[in-house]
């Protein structure tokens, strides 16, 4: 029996490669520890600690640069794509934490577990974004999911919260089954779970056309589609989003989606580049269905949180438009959009969270009536985020959509683009409906007094707003970054 030889330098490189994740996990543990020793009143420190950890991690990501570092026998890789998504995920996490400072106080989520789970989930997302082995990706997915199931149900005295958690959990587990089955089929067809090893095999036309492999990819797609809530795998989304504590909803809508898309992009762009001729129809249909169903359902919602949930479904459809063509422009557009989407969506949830003062009740759209001129800053910010979600210039949402649809048109998917733009036109209706309530309608009775935002909360909102505006006006640097990220994947 030969002893296991450990290559120290490879080990070090591997650890360096996952340094940001290590930092996050360490923070999570540290938070738990602090929670133990901290007196009840000073719980706010937990949030501060978490934010510092996230900031450190984010700094590390930047410090590591976009260079390619592979680790653990090719189970993970730190490359441009990974870095990009880590930035998206960590930003989303940071924004969420900033907002959580206030939210936790109102809704009683100031608990070590809360932050710790949030961070653990984040680490799972990062693994998912960086994983190059289907196993890593799967484990990342689960690591991100399990804390989220809990976080959705974190208000365990609120029926809707727990119900959302149950639905999300049951369906999540169900979908994991499909994902695993897909991976198993892929493994059966190729004999490996490492994406890098699958790529060369795909030059073999027989494999590329093998039904087992394709079915595997299809089921893998189902698993991811569930996470990013593509129709018809989306059914959990509105319920879980509505039930979850709003910070968690914001976090889910941005970060979880980004992470799942990260994996999807990695798999689709890289490994499955050769499968594009087969899969584009599937993606096309999924994209159209997702956009349309999401928008149509959002149209008739009276609960702002639920409306935003459906809107986030529709946005998954838009992002998928970038994947249909499966080329650099599409990937890059998706990346850009995910980044933008994280900021605008979290921003929107943030404002809504402030205005609605109570979970389960405050999110009725009537509650927004008369806010507009009474609280101009809040209403203005929400309007900005909604406008951006609607894809109206000069906001980043517009630039993002512009590139997504460009990618489709470039490859001749004109109808996809047409359906996309018509969808975004329809979506304007419900985004503007919120504006209508805020500005055009008088309040029924007293205008609700929004929660006074803490400094951290305001910071999060301002940061989101500036990103939405700045990227709307000068998007080129981020676009180039996204392009480099995609290219780094393909090279």
């Amino acid at each position: 029996m030969t002893p296991i030889a450990i290559d120290a330098s490879a080990m070090m490189q591997g650890l360096y490669c996952i340094l940001p994740e290590i930092l996050i996990v360490a923070t999570a543990l540290f938070v738990l520890f602090v929670d133990l020793i901290l007196p009840e009143e000073n719980r706010r420190i937990l949030c501060g600690v978490s934010i510092i950890g996230v900031a450190l991690s984010l700094f590390t990501v930047f410090a590591m640069g976009p260079g390619k570092i592979s680790g653990f026998s090719g189970a993970v890789v730190h490359d441009g794509l990974g870095a990009f998504f880590e930035i998206v995920i960590l930003s989303a996490c940071a924004l969420t934490l900033l907002m959580a400072t206030g939210y936790s106080e109102w809704e009683g989520t100031h608990k070590g577990e809360f932050y710790s789970l949030l961070l653990l989930s984040t680490s799972g997302m990062m693994f998912m974004a960086k994983g190059t082995d289907l196993m890593t990706i799967f484990l990342g997915l689960e690591t991100l999911s399990i804390p989220i199931y809990v976080l959705v149900g974190f208000h365990r005295h609120r029926m809707s919260s727990v119900e959302g958690a149950l639905k999300y959990f049951l369906l999540g587990a169900f979908a994991s089954g499909f994902l695993l089955y897909g991976i198993a089929l892929m493994y059966a067809a190729t004999g490996t779970t490492k994406i890098a090893q699958m790529v060369p095999m795909l030059y073999d036309a027989r494999l590329a056309a093998s039904p087992v492999f394709l079915a595997g990819v299809g089921l893998l797609l189902v698993g991811f589609a569930f996470k990013v809530s593509l129709v018809p795998f989306h059914m959990w989304t509105p319920d879980a989003y509505e039930g979850a504590p709003t910070v968690v909803t914001a976090f889910m809508s941005a970060a979880v989606k980004a992470a799942a898309f990260a994996a999807l992009i990695r798999v689709l762009l890289l490994t499955l580049g050769g499968l594009q001729p087969v899969l584009w129809k599937v993606l096309w249909v999924l994209s159209v269905l997702t956009m349309t169903v999401g928008n149509l359902s959002a149209l008739v919602q009276n609960n702002v949180k639920r409306m935003l949930a459906y809107s986030s479904i529709a946005h998954a459809g838009y992002i998928l438009v970038g994947m249909v063509s499966g080329d650099v422009l599409g990937g890059q557009a998706s990346l850009f959009y995910l980044l933008v989407y994280a900021f605008m969506n979290i921003g929107a949830f943030g404002v809504v969270m402030l205005i609605a003062q109570k979970e389960d009740e405050g999110y009725d759209i009537d509650n927004l009536a008369g806010i507009g001129f009474k609280y101009p800053a809040l209403a203005g910010l929400l309007t900005l985020f909604l406008v951006s979600l609607g894809g109206i210039p000069p906001t980043a949402g517009f630039v993002g959509k512009f590139y997504l649809f460009s990618a489709a048109i470039k490859h001749g998917y004109i109808w996809l683009a047409v359906i996309g733009v018509l969808n975004s036109a329809a979506s304007i209706y419900y985004y503007l409906r919120i504006v209508v309530y805020m500005y055009f309608l008088p309040a029924k009775g007293e205008v609700p007094v929004p929660r006074p935002p803490r400094i951290a909360f305001s910071l999060a909102l301002c940061a989101s707003a500036s990103v939405v505006l700045v990227l709307g006006i000068v998007p080129s640097s981020v676009l180039e970054f996204a392009e480099r990220s995609v290219l780094s994947l393909l090279m």
């Binding site: 296991i4 653990f72 608990k111 789970l117 653990l120 484990l139």
Partner: protein, 162 residues
């Protein structure tokens, strides 16, 4: 030898699984599930995956199912308050769809062109352990994070008072 055992244990597994999904009381289901798990463990043994077979019995049938049974007893829904299960149209459609899935997997299995096989040792404790601590070290570590999260989560959700 293997085909016969495969058929026996396969049939047990399938039969157990069918019983799991058709029993009214969750406790019956749980017991049938344990049966299935054992049958699957036996199949693992057939495939020379001794390590996994052991884990299957110890962890799965042992720990996880105990947890299940514990919860079933904790919740302890009286017989008459168990959900009334009726096969509505949609459910029927669901079962049909599941049937289609099986059909599809059958078609896949028929069309399956397996890569060339090897007789290398893949499932022994040794082989698995070696792989686990070299190539799959990261995966192993991530599972620890995963389990940590699960523990925290379960406590956060289930403990009586926070």
């Amino acid at each position: 030898m293997e085909p016969i055992l495969f058929i026996i244990f396969g049939a047990i597994a399938v039969g157990g699984a069918i019983m799991v999904v058709t029993r009214k009381h969750p406790m019956s289901s749980a017991l049938y599930l344990i049966l299935t798990l054992f049958a699957v463990a036996a199949l693992f043994v057939l495939r020379q995956a001794h390590f996994l077979a052991a884990i299957q019995v110890i962890v799965y049938a042992g720990a996880v199912m105990v947890l299940f049974i514990f919860v079933i007893m904790l919740i302890n829904v009286p017989e008459n308050k168990l959900p009334m299960e009726r096969l509505t149209g949609l459910r029927l459609l669901g079962v049909v769809a599941a049937g289609f899935l099986i059909l599809e997997s059958a078609i896949l299995a028929r069309r399956f062109a397996m890569p060339a096989g090897s007789t290398a040792d893949a499932g022994s404790v040794q082989a698995v352990g070696r792989a686990l601590f070299t190539d799959y070290l990261l995966a192993f570590e991530i599972t620890s994070v995963l389990l940590l999260a699960a523990v925290i989560g379960a406590i956060a959700l289930a403990k009586r008072k926070i």
